[in-house]
Amino acid sequence: MTARVQYKGWLVALLLALVFIATSEQLRSTPRRSVSVEMQVALPLFVQVFVAAGDRYLAANLAAIRALVVATDRMRPEEFRILAKVQEDVSWLNPAHEDNYYIAFAILAQYGELDSAQTILARASRARFFDYQPSFFYAFNQWYYKHDPAGAAAWMREAAEKLPDPDQRLIMQNFAARWMDKVQDTELAIRVVAAMAKEARRKDFRAYLETRVARLRQLQQLRTAAVTYRERFGKPVTNLQELVSSGILPVLPVDPFGFGFGFDPQGEIVLRTSPPRS
């Protein structure tokens, strides 16, 4: 090799080195698209299964670990949508995955992905017939976020059925019965609590539920009277005594729990949850 050829070789190498360094510098200052690389994509289910060598449980674990390590404090709303998709996929691949339903309840429900959280919890509840928690969390979300006391009470009763300890079961059934107080449709509430009373094994709990039914019937009686009052006088009732003084009711019902009845902010008659202030 002559000195001239060698010289040319060095020149090319130098040129390439300069191109490399210039590109590297340029790239360094180019912003990256996102810091949250964990939640940019949700792979189709088929791809996830193939990537895990056909093993759906491994695919579920890989996606669940991905959902667990993500830093939710830096995530944007659209990334929560992807997290929800990833977790829904986990619950499809392995509905019984305990961590998955737990973080779906803890994270997704709070960040606007309530429907995904409920789907995951419902699947977990079906697969894990021995575990009360998915049904309990579902009931809580239904009550707290969806303002659906009847749905919440139904899931709460399902959760109660899965509890081995009879005392805890009673506590949960009591919750369900109390939630039914908030149901607008008093007829539905009466039917549900009456059915619960019929199924109750313990006598004292059955008596307690029957008292709740009696209380709900009183509420129903008051609401019907309030409708009559409005029709007759063209204005809503603002004081329960008006129902008696107008002759619609002979006497006001006496709440067996002693809490009595009141009005909600919309002027609807409701059951009080604590004794009236003296």
């Binding site: 289910l45 088929f46 299964v49 193939f50 895990a52 060598a53 056909g54 093993d55 759906r56 449980y57 491994l58 695919a59 674990n61 669940a64 670990i65 667990l68 390590v69 499809w92 691949l93 392995n94 019984a96 305990e98 961590d99 737990y102 697969a127 894990r128 021995f130 575990d131």
Partner: protein, 266 residues
């Protein structure tokens, strides 16, 4: 035939496969152990889950490796001709080798199964999870299911080896078969449930249905929800899964014997 089986067993044990089992086993256990740290509520279940996935992959790789080592390579090197000089039918060679491979993967399944179980139990010392995993029969039935899975893959690789002139073909096709057969269950279930209302995907439903005429659904041999969550498999489904595996493996072995008997080595 028993001679071929025993020689397969001896050759399998003499080769470096035992070291490979130990290395892969250590890796498997390490991965299962690490995966537990990603689980806040059920570390033992996740370790068991990931460990069983690793065990399945390891057993499949071993079965392919041993078919490759004990049959495909013997054919390639023409050392098979020495075995065929014995006054026995050629079919005995194939069956003997297959039984040898089955015994070797059973040994690997028992060794790795015990190792995985020890690790999973050790994880329970730090944190008692709400729902305990199920040891004993549920666990060992699952390991047995994975062994049957690997046995079907071995039968497929052996069938390919019986006609292949390319030594790596049984390994490559065997891997594709193992992944395809295992994926089939999840894909078929997804389509059967309507593919989340995606009409594009639903067009594949008849194809997937037709594929099940030639490819066995190996996911039917995976009963891990039993040790993980105490959900015992449905008896009929498990029985049919086993029958599917045994009939498919027997069919492939029959084909392999027929092809191998007619094969011209000159």
């Amino acid at each position: 035939m028993w001679q071929f089986m025993l020689s397969a067993g001896r050759a399998g044990l003499r080769s470096r496969s035992i070291q490979a089992i130990l290395i892969l086993g250590a890796l498997l256990v390490g991965v299962a152990y690490l995966s537990a740290s990603f689980s806040p509520r059920q570390p033992q279940t996740v370790a068991l889950d990931v460990g069983l996935s690793g065990l399945r992959m390891t057993l499949v790789l071993f079965s392919l490796f041993w078919v490759q080592e004990l049959v495909a390579r013997e054919i390639e090197r023409r050392t098979v001709l020495f075995a065929l000089t014995y006054p026995v039918a050629r079919g005995h060679y194939i069956i003997g080798r297959y039984l040898g491979v089955l015994a070797l993967i059973a040994l690997a399944a028992v060794l790795l199964g015990m190792l995985l179980w020890a690790v999973v139990l050790s994880l329970g010392k730090d944190y008692a999870q709400g729902f305990a995993i199920a040891p004993g029969i549920p666990y060992w039935s699952t390991v047995a299911g994975l062994w049957v899975d690997a046995a079907v893959v071995a039968a497929f690789a052996l069938w390919v080896a019986s006609f292949s002139t390319v030594p790596m073909l049984p390994l490559a096709l065997g891997l594709a078969f193992a992944v395809g057969g295992k994926s089939l269950g999840a894909v078929a279930e997804y389509l059967a449930k309507g593919a989340d209302g995606d009409p594009e995907l639903m067009r594949f439903a008849p194809v997937i249905h037709a594929i099940q005429w030639v490819l066995p659904d190996l996911s039917r041999l995976d009963w891990r929800v039993w040790p993980m969550y105490g959900l015992a498999p449905d008896g009929q489904a498990a029985g049919l899964g086993l029958m599917l595996a045994v009939s498919y493996a027997a069919l492939l072995l029959t084909l392999a014997v027929m092809i191998f008997t007619r094969r011209d080595f000159e």
